[in-house]
Symmetry: C2
Subunit: 340 residues, 2 copies
DNA sequence: CCTGGAAACGTAACCGATAACGATTGCAGT
DNA sequence: ACTGCAATCGTTATCGGTTACGTTTCCAGG
């Protein structure tokens, strides 16, 4: 084993092999125009010296870094799942991943954080970014793929079929016999929040159940935002027999409030969430929810970004992934007592 | 807003401001030796052109990338927590974080994966790395900090006080009256696994309880490894009244097996874990465990790496963090029936 | 023996930013 | 008025690779 402390550069290899750096470069990149004998010489010199090409120098020259970025406004289990999918899609692809997440609590950090980082990164460190943020559209010199984009965005994005998912969730409650169904909405700047509310309304409409606006609470996807809303819904004289929350994080808070107020789930109250985060499988009772495979979202976003960056673009720019209703034990038919 | 498609370079700014690139560089880096008037001119040129310095070019020149790496052999909730801590420590520090995790299931990917990546990265993309892997010591041209290092490693590292933690955990069981206490060990190449077993032995010894080797199962920290071991322990004619698992992931599997075999926890069987991963708070029953704040481990590791990289090194090179026993509802006094 | 052309390889100009160096100017101290 | 130091700024080599272009080598065909 040779102890190497100073970095070995291409010209070191060239000197050792008795050729020019240009030739070494060709060998390293497998380019045409080098005799077999020379290739062998260069290869063995590389081996002996333990040469590794400088990613930085290569990036500068090629004006391509082969690094993609993941920019998230907060880092929660949602983000972690997305991250896993992204890493999977990028593994052995030649791309490296650099991540930026607002480490402040609840992502409460000033708006525009993502935009600032992105302009700094794009073109100087990353070849493209995946962003997951509830704040506005993002401009960048390099390609950007949004996960769960803002409403009305036409930029490349990946999202779940929120409309269908929410519709199915509410239909599940309707099928069980519920008629007074509360809803806790997400941050309405996001397309997902809007679609989930649409799904709620659509399901009620097609069942002939009128929408009662007082049963709708306006949250923002942060779990904490759901607590006071759930309290309001459950403390009214005529509480709903079921609550559909636009995210699992919020749904878990609803469970908490229900327990606190003496509601037994699912006997007195059914609860449905959206997302299927790992925690919702292990609570008591298990949360019925809509699975949107955040892993898959991350995976697809990364695939899409990769093809945008390499220029082999041929897929639709807005991917919608199917959802799946996961029935656990937080939903049941309403008790007769709960009916008017 | 000016539409910029071609990247704006320093010489563009220099030309616009009527100065040399050297002067622009000094302004950008806040160096000494530029008149106030010139600074204003340069600043406004930067503003107008929307110039952002190229991180790649800067890295090449300074032979410093300001990027740190996190290399993990797998990505689970453990890793996610560590990641959060690392990100927190690095936020607003000027360092960016690039992560490598083996995306293959259970990190079963071939040994040496981390070493290969590290040699590729070190000095060419990262200024240093945090590694969390059960496989051997790692060599690198740039500083490396290990989280939960292999046994006997003298390299810089951060780990929990596993000995004290495990001792406390077993003492907790002893205090409740347990005498037959099973143990499921972790991958014994890791210092943490070894110390936790030591703690188990030490606690029993000081309580005058002899160690029964047949009550010890050899796992490897992967949750799955615990399932058959738990089955063996619980299916014997004289099952232990309590099981201490060296990690929460494994402890949760013990709970699963217990449920499957008809053991009621904590009535028939007490279970204690180690780590305090988020899931262990939300299972039913809640898992009694030893908190080792993986967030904190990540945080400290990042702080340490930062100071190693910047050369302002003055702390001990092996940090040990305190642990804390978290008592939930998976532990109780042994039922009289369970006693011989 | 000469020519044409492809293959093999070297030269040098970059990429964008930094820092050593030298040159000039300004200003306070004497 | 003169010295000396510090401030100010431009020039240029350099970091490590990549690539357009030019040169040399070699061999087949004429």
């Amino acid at each position: 084993m040779i102890e190497v402390n100073a970095p070995v550069t291409m010209s070191d290899v060239a000197r050792a092999a008795g050729v020019s750096t240009a030739t070494v470069s060709r060998v390293v990149n497998g380019h045409y125009g080098v005799s077999a004998r020379t290739v062998v010489q260069v290869r063995s010199a590389i081996e002996q010296l333990g040469y590794e090409s400088s990613l930085v120098a290569t990036s500068l020259r090629r004006s391509r870094t082969n690094v993609l970025g993941l920019v998230a406004h907060s880092f929660q289990s949602y983000t972690a799942e997305v991250l896993k999918g992204v890493m999977k899609a990028l593994s052995r692809s030649g791309f490296d991943l650099i991540i930026y997440a607002n480490s402040d609590l609840y992502g409460s950090y000033s708006e525009g954080w993502e935009q600032r980082h992105l302009t700094r990164l794009s073109g100087t460190l990353t070849d493209g970014c995946i962003v997951v943020t509830p704040w506005g559209d993002i401009r960048s010199r390099t390609p950007v793929v949004a996960i769960d984009p803002v409403r009305g965005s036409t930029a490349p994005s990946v999202m779940a079929d929120n409309l269908a998912g929410a519709t199915t969730a509410v239909e599940h409650l309707l099928d069980l016999g519920h008629r007074r169904i509360g809803f806790i909405a997400g941050r309405d700047s996001l397309a997902s929040a809007w679609s989930r509310e649409e799904g709620y309304r659509a399901a009620l409409a097609s069942a002939g159940v009128p929408v009662d606006p007082t049963l709708i609470g306006r949250g923002d996807f942060n779990p904490e935002s759901a607590t006071p809303l759930a309290r309001v819904l459950l403390q009214r004289p005529d509480p709903p027999s079921a609550i559909f929350a636009a995210s699992d994080g919020m749904a878990l808070k609803v469970l908490e409030v229900a327990r606190e107020l003496g509601f037994s789930v699912p006997a007195d109250l059914s609860v449905v969430g959206f997302d299927n985060i790992p925690e919702s499988a292990s609570t008591e009772p298990g949360l019925t929810t809509v699975d949107q495979s955040m892993y898959q979202l991350g995976y697809e976003a990364a695939r899409m970004l990769k093809s945008l960056v390499t220029g082999e673009w041929d897929e639709p720019s807005q991917i919608v992934l199917p959802t799946r209703l996961v029935v656990r034990s937080s939903t049941a038919a309403p008790s007769s007592a709960a009916r008017p």
